[in-house]
Symmetry: C2
Subunit: 547 residues, 2 copies
């Protein structure tokens, strides 16, 4: 098989959510990249702010990267654009709203002039190197999302990023079925499709179905209504604005990202909210409570969000008051259940009424469920199928669905991040494995926390530390003063009070009676004593000076 006529498909990064945050396509020596997003850390990733894909492989070939193509404006698809373009300065292609959201983000970081942006539109196509990209509209929980048909001499690949089939989308613009059929007629060699909801039977309801629930909440609430959702969930803002209009409330926005995003979406006409419906937050706080709905962030219980701060009583601009209703208009992202539940309890404790998707239909998923996944396969009739955008459990489930639809088992391929897949001679093969993991980001520095540092942190966190400072008389090898001992995160002050004198005596005995070689002796002796006394294993450090 000629290596020349070979498309390499490379899912990168993303905490096991395959190819969600970044995907590369390599033909010959040319590369295009789809999406550059961030992920939020798992609960055991201590002190990490967020995570970006490990694109070391692309950095080494950065001269061959032709462009970055963004499917839609969610953080897990655009959040790493700035990091990526700093390392690999290529043009970024995005639809108008997506571009606006990226630019707002860059602007907040003072980096708006550093990135070269190009506008694309659903229906457009781009020829770049050996690639022809055809963008087509898809429904998702944000407007202006696209899928991409990618043609190379190796064949036609459909890259379905996050999508659903919404027959009655809020913006009246359904997924482009005609284009999918056209691809089908041409012959699709490989379909990559969103596996997020591969474990969910049936159809995902239309975004429109939540409108009545919002009208009910807004008309029944006697006080203010505070609706929290993702700042990028533009269609949700539209729904709440529409419900506010018919229930006689004005809308105010709280939080920088929410204010910015709504401004952009309104300006670009992705949001149709009349001027008289929107009031500044300061004005809203002085209006009658039942005339107001406040849109803000924090539906996942994030401590630094507006709702997180409201629940903790630390929001500076305004606080909760009796009669407030807080609506958490999202579904818990796996891993966030605990902090969301704690947030709900705190809001209730402060006297607010809380409405979440477990008790009222105020949220629907933005991802295709099983029947939609099947419909896509029937529309496209691909020769090969590769599930993406999910953890292994969802990918395998999605591959099973594809096989039920008649795609041969040998024509479906499940690959995790870093696993290269090759489309060559109209066949699909597993290629080599490359680093496709993720990079921790903390503070402003990237990647300088590796898995070893994380292991040390988890060890520090598990049992704390003990620091021992001893000085020895060079002449006679005896201690010059009693050992100084400090602990952190180990035992309570009361227990330390009873434990530390014993440790001191133990060290003195080790140094004076048992002969003494070096710090290691003391560390080991103390460690085993502490474990025996407390069943814990703190990190023990000794500093030794001789004089």
């Amino acid at each position: 098989m000629s290596k020349k006529n070979r498309l390499r498909i490379i899912p990168l990064g993303g905490l096991g959510e395959v190819g969600k945050n970044m995907m590369a396509y390599e033909y010959g020596s040319d590369i295009i990249v789809v999406d550059a997003g961030i992920m939020f850390p798992k609960n055991d990733m201590l002190g990490v702010d967020y995570i970006i894909p490990d694109y070391e492989y692309l950095k080494k070939k950065s001269n061959h990267v032709l462009g970055l193509f963004i499917t839609h404006g969610h953080e897990d698809h655009i959040g790493a654009v700035q990091h990526f373009t700093e390392d690999i300065p290529v043009p970024v292609y995005a639809t108008p709203l997506t571009r606006g959201l990226i630019e707002a983000k860059l602007h907040r970081n003072g980096a708006q002039h550093k990135v070269q942006m190009k506008t694309i539109n659903a229906g457009d196509s781009t020829r770049i190197g050996p690639f022809t990209l055809e963008y087509f509209h898809v429904n998702h929980s944000i407007p202006d999302a696209v899928g991409i048909g990618i043609t190379t001499p190796a064949g036609l690949v459909i890259h379905m990023s996050d999508f659903k089939f919404d027959q009655t989308p809020v913006d009246g613009w359904p997924t482009d079925f005609a284009k999918l059929s056209e691809f089908s007629n041409r012959g699709v060699d490989l379909l990559l499709s969103d596996s997020t909801n591969a474990e969910r039977p049936g159809w995902t309801p239309s975004e429109s179905v939540i409108r009545p629930a919002f009208e009910k909440v807004l008309s029944e609430a006697e006080g203010r209504v505070i609706v929290a959702t993702f700042a990028s969930l533009i269609s949700r803002v539209q729904q709440v604005a529409d419900a506010a209009k018919v229930t006689g409330r004005k809308m105010a926005l709280a939080g920088t990202s929410m204010v910015d995003n709504v401004k952009i979406a309104r300006k670009m006409k992705y949001l149709e909210i009349p001027d008289e419906m929107i009031v500044p937050i300061e004005q809203a706080l002085n209006m009658q409570d039942h005339k107001v709905v406040i849109m803000c962030t924090g539906s996942q219980g994030e401590p630094s969000s507006i709702v997180g701060r409201l629940s903790a009583g630390t929001n500076r601009q305004f606080g909760l008051k009796d009669g407030d209703t807080v609506v958490l208009s999202s579904h818990p992202i796996p891993g966030n259940e605990e902090s969301i539940s704690a947030t709900i309890n705190r809001l209730l404790r402060k006297g607010a009424k809380v409405i979440h998707d477990g008790i009222a239909p105020i949220h629907v998923s933005g991802h295709a469920a099983q029947e939609e996944q099947k419909l896509l396969i029937n529309l496209v009739r691909p020769k090969h199928f590769m599930p993406i955008h999910g953890e292994l459990r969802q990918l395998i489930r999605h591959a099973e669905i594809a096989q039920q639809m008649g795609i041969e088992e040998e024509n479906t391929i499940v690959a995790e991040n870093g696993q290269v897949v090759e489309l060559v001679g109209k066949k699909i093969l597993l290629g080599e494995r490359i680093p496709g993991d993720y990079v921790f980001v903390t503070g402003e520095s990237i990647g300088d926390i590796d898995h070893d540092v994380m292991k040390e942190r988890s060890q520090l966190a598990r049992s704390g530390i003990m620091l021992i400072d001893i000085s020895i008389d060079r002449k006679n090898g005896r201690l010059l003063h009693e050992p100084e001992i400090v602990t952190r995160g180990f035992v309570s002050p009361e227990d330390a009070e009873s434990l530390i004198p014993d440790v001191r005596r133990l060290i003195m005995r080790t140094v004076h009676d048992d002969g003494f070689d070096d710090e290691k002796d003391i560390i080991n002796t103390v460690k085993s004593y502490l474990h025996q006394q407390t069943k814990r294993r703190p990190m023990v450090f000794v500093t030794l000076s001789k004089s």
Copy 2:
């Protein structure tokens, strides 16, 4: 109102799950306690093994505690029996199976002779001090569970612990409706009821409905089937054994707690599994794969459980092989979603098929849903209602349900742990707040980790530590050698290599040029430098010796 005729109801401990792990009833100076359970730590409770209720209030009155009454044999109701009776040595009352499970646990800890156990049976009653306790059978996901009617001169209180109304329970023994009606006829002053599923509409399905799903899995699987569930979910073991019988498989048990519990339950006839159905695990491993089902623990992805170890490839007795099917027969406990998902992915990566409650009906809840909660209220017709066994969000929801059923708002009372509730003169009032929080248990030591230690751990975990050792010449105030610097959990070795020389120079400058007072100066200088360079705030420690 005479203080004499006053019943105090005191929910204790349990991470916000009100009164689940422990509940005290105090009349005059006499106290009885219902349940003594443990809870597992939240994700941000670093290095904690488990949590027990803070029963300091009871310790101070330990001479007045008359007995500990256990409603059923789940860990969150029996796990702290040993701790409790060590502090407050009172008789423990439990039904036969519950007693057997407690004794097995005590036996594993070598404490079987330290606790005085008394057997009670559903239908029995106990008079103790001013209390008359009447036990009645309830359905739950473990056999031999009871609710308790508690009569004092202050009135009749029904303590419904975990329950559901299962019309076709696996053991053929439904909840005692007749007793509930009898209580109703007598007049119930206060009903305390299980709020776990207060956000779930409808009825919880019968445990029997999962039998067909297990028969399907066991008949379709071509290899071994490994079923993981809680060791105390006795009725699940019965279901799997029944399904194994009709599908021609033998059952083996893996894991100490599973082996122990099944042995006890079989001996006491709570489990009806013929001898020929059970084979030792060693024998099962040598049988044909499709003739075997293995019951074990680990349905919550616990790393130390059998399934946790199978997924990590560290189970000594046996490993996974191609063709294995692993069934996780439970629902994720909130907070465990992430680790369960990681476990599922690891099992799949090892080639096993994984079936969980998201894709097949192989689990039902053991708790009443809204319609059952309503039925209970209609059966009992209490004057007052207090939701227990839930977080605030579920309690408030359950109180709303009671109000929908016609119980006056002023007659429903929502109290969190440590909030004393008083039944006095046939009225219900909020009493004082007492410590009703929880106590961390790590290793073998209890309670010596307080919230401050936890805070230090979380700080250590967030950015790690830097230790600086410096020696100063007493005569001229100059450094005797370059500062020695060690970091843990802070930055990667490569970054440390570039950062540490700068920190060294900074310290030397601080000591030599800027004048030098004490360690504080150096700590502050280094801290602000590190933050400026890395945006992180590690804990910095300096040891200083002068000679």
